[in-house]
């Protein structure tokens, strides 16, 4: 006998965001870091900061740290993103 059973999933595809247009170059651009604030982020992001400035000619690097590393970025940080040319959101551990 055929069984009729119900779908247990949400049946909702998560909307994927569209990637921002790629930058032709980082020269003279402003790059933002969104750090989760863990121990390892200090060395990791400071190294990236230096690399971006020295090797890619980035004009400015802005670091913002989430108030809770296990939660999405604070609204104030998200609001700032539109003023940056590129953003790097990464873990530090």
């Amino acid at each position: 006998m055929t069984l009729q059973v119900l779908d247990p999933s949400s049946e909702m595809a998560t909307e994927l965001g569209n990637p921002a247009p790629r930058l032709a170059s980082l020269q003279g651009k402003t790059v933002g870091f969104i750090s989760n604030g863990k121990e390892g982020t200090v060395g990791y992001f400071s190294h990236l900061d230096k690399m971006l400035r020295d090797e890619f000619g980035v004009a400015d690097v802005i670091v913002r740290v989430k108030s809770n590393y296990s939660a999405p970025a604070d609204p104030a940080i998200v609001a700032e993103i539109s003023r940056w040319d590129a953003v790097i959101s990464g873990l530090g551990d």
Binding site: L3, D7, E11, M12, S70
Partner: protein, 351 residues
């Protein structure tokens, strides 16, 4: 009753298993086929329409309906009478202070522990004594499993997907227990959270694996509790130093010694709050010297306040075995207690 979920056809019981396993809809164990009849029975028991909204998952703004909870509860082996506990538990997990996304996505790999209080424990024949942390009865095992299946299917918390647990722990399969209120003169965990004894309640906590302790060599409360405090200190050295909700399971044999000389839960909380703390420099003794830095003399308590310790009366009648259940990660997630099937602070309807 109108159900919104997609209906799948399967030739027989085994075909149902393969369908659900192949779609990633199980925890690896066989499931009970969620037929419309079984799901409707859960909804009717809870007296909720299928489309009832339990909440909206905040990170991906996903609405969570009671129908989807019922489907997963049936799959886990829940009876309709178990379902109100599942609803209350998911509602509690969706409170902002629980931080559901962080707790279920973290590499820290915690599980959601549930503690049942009130008359529902007896209505469901939950067993708060023998083997209490080891699948002691049908109700708690099925309810705990239901939460895992709900996380997998409704919240997409699958290993390697949103669930980034490095190792996880066996409590993820099912982590539900009832408190032994009948053999204790202590306030129940729910009563400590201002829920009347006559009401049923569930507490959820983002919890690490239980760490078993044993002390059968004393009847002195301070010595008994020092063993629990030492295990908490060990967790702070080996896992996380951050303060948060710890839980301890105190079995009957040890409770007798404490209660005989008048120690209440509040006394236990106060004592362990004072004793469960370490210096940051102790990390250097366990291979974590690189992060001690200039803060070696700083003292870290296991809890920010005594009431962050959940004292749970449970366990078999013989044996001085208890457990310390550490938080996922300090204060990032807070335990939430919620009454089942009632609203304690609702306004009466305006006429």
């Amino acid at each position: 009753m109108q159900l919104a979920s997609k209906v799948h056809q399967a030739a027989d019981f085994n075909a149902v298993q393969e369908l659900y396993h192949s779609n990633g809809w199980t925890d690896g164990l066989p499931i009970v086929p969620p037929t419309a009849e079984a799901v409707e029975a859960c909804l009717e028991w809870a007296m909720m329409p299928a489309e009832q909204l339990i909440g909206v998952e905040p990170v991906r703004e996903r609405p969570i309906t009671v129908e989807k909870l019922a489907i997963n509860a049936v799959m886990a082996g829940c009876l309709p009478m178990h379902f109100p506990v599942v609803i209350a538990a998911v509602t509690a997990m969706m409170q902002p202070e629980f931080l559901l996304h962080g707790a279920t996505a973290s590499t820290g790999g915690c599980a959601v522990m549930l503690v049942l209080n009130g008359p529902i424990r007896q209505e469901l024949s939950a067993c708060p004594t023998f083997n209490v942390l080891g699948a002691s009865d049908r109700a708690t095992t099925a309810i705990g499993r239901a939460l895992r299946l709900i996380l997998i299917n409704v919240f997409d918390v699958r290993p390697g997907g949103i669930d980034r647990s490095t190792i996880g722990h066996p409590g993820k399969i099912s982590y539900c227990l009832a408190e032994d209120e009948d053999d204790s003169n202590w306030l129940s965990l729910a009563e400590q959270n201002d829920i009347p004894k006559e009401a049923s309640a569930v507490t959820v906590m983002a919890a690490g694996a239980p760490r078993q302790i044993m002390n059968e060599w004393t009847t002195e409360p301070r010595e008994i509790l020092e063993t629990f405090a030492a295990e908490i200190r060990a967790n702070m050295r080996h896992y996380s130093i951050w303060p948060g909700n710890y839980a301890i399971i105190v079995p009957q044999q040890l409770r007798r010694h404490l209660q005989k000389v008048g120690w209440s839960k509040a006394d236990v909380q106060e004592f362990i709050f004072e004793r469960a703390r370490i210096h940051r420099r102790e990390w250097a003794e366990v291979g974590k010297g690189s992060v001690v830095r200039d803060r070696g003399d700083t003292v870290y308590p296991a809890m920010a306040s005594p009431d962050q310790l959940l004292v749970i009366a449970a366990g078999g009648p013989a044996g001085g075995f208890g457990a310390v259940i550490p938080p996922w990660l300090g204060h990032k997630s807070h335990a939430v207690t919620m009454a089942i099937g009632i609203c304690l602070d609702c306004e009466p309807p305006r006429t």
